[in-house]
Amino acid sequence: MSEKHNIIPVWFFVGVLFLVYGVLILGSGLAEWSHPPNTVLADLHAPVWWGILLIALGVVYCGAFRPGRNKV
């Protein structure tokens, strides 16, 4: 991100956001598994697989761009 300033890459913050949201959404999806909410296509359990996707992306971004790694 920055040569002049030693700033944490923005991608790391993106990873943190994905990771935290992934955990919250996956947890919510699992909690409502046996009694899904009153929404259309609730039987697809979208929060579960969407949460897993966000966690996976979060882990990749946090790992690849964690502070201390000299990478843009």
Binding site: I25, E32, V40, A46
Partner: protein, 567 residues
């Protein structure tokens, strides 16, 4: 907190669960945290107003698109897709991609080499104080009005989805934006715009995925729309534009090609400082050229999360939405289609993510407006006209105060926006007022060294006056609509396209005529500002993969393919 929210709740489509609230609160905490973290890096004027000019092409490109992806964009264009069908996608494709590629390949080198802080700053160098002052003042007005419109759009979402009081939503979100932009300047705005870009995508993408699943794919969706709205064509882009009366927008293809693609989108994407400022933060000229081209690929994909939900709304929503001015008890307006679709598919967790995405859209748009406003006010109005030659720190301090003041002014203008029946008609009118003639002035200035200072100023003034005059004439009587928009069938968006076309044409004609009777500036004053007198760095040594022109052509080729698919 819960008690306060409880008091503000009136009627709602959905209730936020504990996990939804956690998602919303974490987002606010993160953006504020980033703002305070970046405060220590925004010390000089270049840091605060141009993010130190050290952003990579990817970061600048994503911020470039994200600054435009405000809640107005999300809600207004989803609403327009419901109202006008896939014709609304023209504003993302032919009405954006050629202009973004043109900015990257042709205009960015001049902005970047001249080391200007802003677009009015370029006009100052090219035409002097008169044209620059006019542009700076009109831009400042436009950004503040835009900011107010964005704020109103966001507050509507909160009202529809959660029942939150409009005033409460506007004040909490806008104060958050004010704090993080005032703290970290453009650094903070750009960081949060990149964050918001991802959040918007992952918050909104489930709507088209689940929507297409429900309708059985694109064909199933089209069949349902035809069943719900027989006799109307909502799913073809060019076919229904052979006459004004054969499409829901009341527009002819000439309005899209000449009004939108050739003038309005070129004006917006190449001279609106809100978006250009993001690219000026790039670390070198190649990154500055690549940023808008990278952005163009993402822009091409945005209809997936904006236009498609509007079309799916036509197919699956049990009720028919109505114009904002005609909403009665139990009815919903066009602009509410996206939140309605969100509530249809998203339960706890995902609802919080979707709501946060819409709030993030609002914040991205507003941060873009206030940071651009602070820069133009400080460098193009305050410094040349009020206090010259102050210390750099003084201007940084002025930028911070401007951010806060601009925020309060835009809160005031949000209440003004509520009075207009159609959100997007209002904004399109604003674009037409200032952006279309400005494009004529900047482009002639870059390409023709003969253009004089007086010609630049008078051309810009004539174009702006023409634009405002046409707007009020067409609002006053359908008679004027038939004359200037070429048909009485032309709706608000169609009128705005022709208004842009006439105002830019007036600007160009007046500029040329005045140029021919005035004395040109000497060549040595125009080096780095005009095409024929500027040595733009070539990239002979770059591989094909790294050449902006190759990616620019790829974006245009993809655009053509999309037009053919959805013809």
């Amino acid at each position: 907190m819960t008690a306060i929210l409880g008091m503000l709740v009136a009627e709602r489509l959905a209730h936020l669960s504990a996990v939804d609230l956690a998602i919303v609160i974490f987002y606010f905490a993160l953006v504020l945290g980033i703002g305070f973290y970046l405060k220590k890096f925004a010390k000089t004027g270049e840091d605060f107003f141009l993010a130190g000019r050290e952003m990579t092409a990817w970061v600048a490109g994503l911020a470039f698109v994200s600054a435009n992806l405000g809640s107005l964009e999300l809600l207004g264009w989803a609403g327009n897709a419901y109202q006008y069908g896939i014709l609304a996608a023209h504003w993302y494709w032919i009405g954006a991609i050629p202009a973004m590629v043109f900015l990257g390949l042709v205009m960015m080198p001049f902005y970047y080499i001249s080391k200007t802080h802003s677009v009015p700053g370029y006009l100052q160098l090219r035409y002097g104080s008169a044209a620059s002052g006019l542009s700076a003042i009109t831009f400042a007005i436009m950004t503040i009005l835009m900011s107010g419109v964005n704020m109103y759009a966001m507050a509507v979402v909160m009202k529809v989805v959660l029942g939150w009081d409009i005033n409460f939503s506007m004040w909490v979100s806008s104060l958050t934006v004010g704090v993080y932009v005032a703290a970290g300047g453009l650094f903070s705005a750009i960081f949060n715009e990149v964050l918001q870009f991802f959040l918007i995508w992952f918050g909104a993408l489930l709507i088209p995925i689940l929507g297409l699943y429900e309708t059985g794919g694109w064909k199933g969706m089209v069949a349902r729309i035809q069943q719900n709205f027989p006799g109307q064509d909502f799913t073809h882009m060019w076919g229904p534009m052979h006459s004004f009366s054969s499409n829901p927008m009341g527009i002819h293809w000439t309005g899209i090609v000449f009004g939108l693609a050739a003038v309005q989108s070129m004006g917006y994407w190449t001279t609106d400082f809100l978006v250009v400022q993001r690219v000026l933060s790039a670390k070198d000229i190649r990154s500055a050229k690549m940023a808008p081209i990278i952005g163009s690929f993402f822009k091409m994909a945005v209809p997936l999360i904006v236009i498609l939900p509007g079309l799916l709304g036509l197919a699956v929503l049990p009720m028919h939405l109505v114009p904002g001015s005609q909403v009665g008890p139990g009815q919903h307006s066009y602009d509410e289609v996206l939140p309605l679709m969100l509530v249809r598919y998203c339960g706890p967790g995902l609802l919080g993510l979707g709501v946060t995405a819409l709030v993030a859209g609002f914040m991205a748009g507003m941060a873009g407006n206030v940071s651009a406003f602070a820069t133009v006010w400080t460098y193009d109005i305050y410094r040349p006209f009020i206090k010259k030659n102050a210390a750099d720190q003084h201007y940084v301090s002025m930028g911070r105060w401007c951010t806060i003041i601009g925020l309060f002014v835009s809160i005031g203008t949000a209440y003004l926006a509520m009075r207009f029946a159609s959100l997007m008609d209002y904004v399109q009118a604003l674009f037409g007022f200032f952006i279309a003639p400005l494009f004529g002035t900047v482009l002639l200035g870059m390409l023709w060294k003969r253009v004089s200072k007086a010609a630049g100023f008078l051309g810009l003034l004539a174009g702006t006056v023409t634009s405002i005059t046409l707007f009020f004439l067409m609002k006053s009587s359908p008679h004027w609509v038939a004359i200037f928009a070429l048909s009485p069938e032309a709706k608000g968006l169609a009128q705005a396209m022709y208004q842009s076309l006439w105002s830019c044409t007036t600007c160009v004609v007046v500029t040329i005529l005045v140029t021919l009777v005035t004395k040109p500036r000497p060549d040595e004053e125009l080096r780095g500002l005009v095409y024929s007198l500027t040595d733009v760095a070539k990239e002979e040594h770059a591989s094909l993969f790294h050449k902006p022109v190759v990616w620019g052509m790829a974006a245009l080729a993809l655009l053509v393919i999309l037009q053919i698919i959805f013809w």
